[in-house]
Amino acid sequence: MRRRVPHLLGLALLAFFLAFPFVYSANDYPYVMHIMITSFFYAILASSWSMLAGYAGQFSFGHIGFMGVGAYTAALFSHYFWLSPVPTELCTEYRFGETWLVVVNPIGVTSTTLTQDCLRQAMEMWGDAVQPTRMPVWIGILLGTLMGGVFGFLIGVLVLRLRAAYLALFTLGFAEILKATISAEIEITRGQAGMELPALFESGVTLFGHTFDKTDKLPPYFVMFGLLLVCLAILAWLAGSKFGLFVRALREDQDAAAALGVNTTRYKVLVFVVTTMMAASAGAVQAHYVGIVTPNNLFLLQMSLVVAMAVIGGVESFIAAAIGAVLIEVALEMLRNSFVIGGVEIDMTIWRLVFFGIVLMLTLRFARNGLIAPLIGYFTRGHVARETVEHRLHPRAEEAAAK
């Protein structure tokens, strides 16, 4: 019976998050919803990272880089590809039936703002007569996800021979190169200024007979939550299938796993591809939700947050990592309020991160499986100790039963 408790709690959590946007109605509704969406975003990153680091033992510090690959792919796609009912005759364009796919050539770019491109020139000539439309958002998200997988595959192949510290350094290096490239290639990525993206539902959406504006938080809430559920479902399926067993085996002992028939190369690359695709999809959706991506999204701080969330939750359980991410994101937001003690203003926007770091270190030192994973373990693995103790108390009975 006790083993059912986590399932029931999980269902309760699911129901809570599904009902939350309808039940909650305080004044700070948009703010709270924003925090929830962000926490789901981190939950996707933390849980996929826990699959990579906790299950497969590949301590990659480039996870946030793959998130950036997804976000920037979506951003570049929505920026450079448009649909127009009339040919511009200025840009590179391809005809599909009655519409033209316009590839926007960046001409006349200045360092921070995109002042002129071929499509804008065409639009000036058209006046209001012709309205080009953006490509559907979901294609960008899909492309971002795929691109994340492609990068994950390449990095996965490159790091096959690297272990532990080298792997961490290499993946960190990947993220840094990516960030530097995005900051530097201003003509394409607009550098530090960042790229603007359309909202997830630019023209609004009608749900449950109610039309939501593009700034409403409810649709993106369910998109992000849905993505989180999809990711968790995939992770649960993988962890429960032979994939999960094999990647854990290769974490424990790669050579022994190979000697028992596990294709270690394939599973190592596969775990990279799967988890980086999740990170990339989260990045793409988040980019569309926030409406802007900048290279600062790839800062090491973000990676630190993901790692810390997964570790505090419990790196060897992706559910615990996801719950940890949600709790920590919410806690961090709640701790934002600065206060004054004895005339000294305590700037909590910074101090909360200090406390967070201390919690991370103490968790690592004293609770190596995190704070939430042992709770789950108490219910799912609690009987193991009892069995063994019973065996110790009545060894004869056990052996007799065995024979």
Binding site: E252, A258, L260, A402
Partner: protein
């Protein structure tokens, strides 16, 4: 019918000539002991057969399939399983999960239920049944050795190489390992047994291979090999050396260093 043909296998590591043209065959469910002084090339030979090391020249055929250029996992699926000198269980996985890995990897696997039933049967045989849900790291050294043997039963290869199965094992567990060897042999599988414990090897094996300085110096029934002057000179001449202790000592130093090979 199992058939393993090793012919003229050479392996050099830089200046060290670890294997010098090793040739032998295994036909059917033989129980073969492989002995030799430390550094004779036993572990290198195991690694070559297992695919972890590619030989410089020479071939290894298993049931007509060439396996010397394959990856270890392909060799395992082709039907050759091995244990390691130092136990290498998956420490942070439960005992049952340790057994599931090879069963699922072979792809011959039937449904999960069948695998579970077989795993339980194997655990009962190895007297580890009550520990099935414990992490492998909670097991004693000897029990981990048994677990490693259990994984081989789940892999179900046609030929099994046991590298020092008796080193550092309690006499009561030794009985189980003897039973294990008899069982595997009766199932129609070939066993290559590597050990420093002469009495066990001589009482168990039907045929002895003796390696010295990378070359096979004797191949035959134990009684004949015992009398072979080359063997006596190379190996049994140092009979006074405490038997078995060498293995136990190796085991002790290696335990501090789990990744040591």
């Amino acid at each position: 019918m199992i058939h393993l043909a090793v012919s003229n296998v050479h392996k050099r590591f830089g200046g060290l000539h670890a294997l010098k043209g090793v040739t032998f065959e295994v036909n059917g469910p033989e129980l073969i002991g492989l002995i030799g002084p430390n550094g004779a090339g036993k572990t290198t030979l195991t690694n070559v057969l297992d695919g972890a090391i590619k030989p410089n020249t020479g071939t290894v055929y298993l049931n007509g399939q060439r396996i010397d250029q394959l990856h270890p996992y392909e060799v395992a699926i082709a039907g050759l399983g091995r244990t390691f000198q130092v136990t290498r269980s998956f420490r942070r996985m439960s005992v049952l999960e340790n057994l599931y890995v090879p069963a699922l990897a072979t792809r011959r696997a039937a449904d999960r239920k069948a695998i579970h039933a077989k795993a339980m049967e194997v655990l009962e045989f190895l007297t580890l049944g009550h520990l099935r849900n414990e992490y492998a790291q909670a097991l004693s050294g000897g029990q981990q050795k048994l677990l490693e043997l259990g994984r081989l039963l789940m892999l179900d290869p046609g030929i099994v190489i046991l590298d020092e199965p008796f080193a550092g094992v309690h006499p009561r567990l030794m009985e189980i390992i003897y039973a294990y060897i008899r069982r595997v042999n009766e199932e129609g599988k070939a066993i290559i047994l590597i050990s420093h414990q002469m009495d066990s090897i001589f009482s168990l094996s039907q045929r002895l291979l003796v390696l010295n300085f990378g070359g096979l110096i004797a191949d035959g029934p134990p009684d004949e090999v015992k009398r072979d002057p080359a063997v006596i000179e190379a190996y049994l001449g140092t009979e006074e050396e405490p038997e078995g202790d060498a293995g136990a000592r190796d085991d002790a130093t290696d335990e501090d260093n789990p990744t040591h090979r």
